[in-house]
Symmetry: C2
Subunit: 63 residues, 2 copies
Amino acid sequence: MCEANAYLIKESGEEELVFENVDRVLPGEEGIMMEDIFGKRKLLRARIKEMALVDHKIILEAL
Amino acid sequence: MCEANAYLIKESGEEELVFENVDRVLPGEEGIMMEDIFGKRKLLRARIKEMALVDHKIILEAL
């Protein structure tokens, strides 16, 4: 399976794991809606900084 | 490997395949920079509409 983990970059530059097993990513005006492989959703006030699919990583930065 | 294919939604609603084997996705002011698993890059004046990682799909819409 090709789900990814989502990390939020903190001001210190550290990456904090915020959501695991992400399948769907839907950017919107409110932020990023993510849905995991079990159908659980999470909305974060953030935008995508970078995705590295082969590494299963989504890097987010706060809005 | 968990690379994905990128599709651009046309006005007709049809999805046009624009880039294959995408590994990295970097949204920026100019649009979306994508890098495939071979290191080839493509910049598109578009934004991410939706990603479906388990289906290996990146759906873009033109800016």
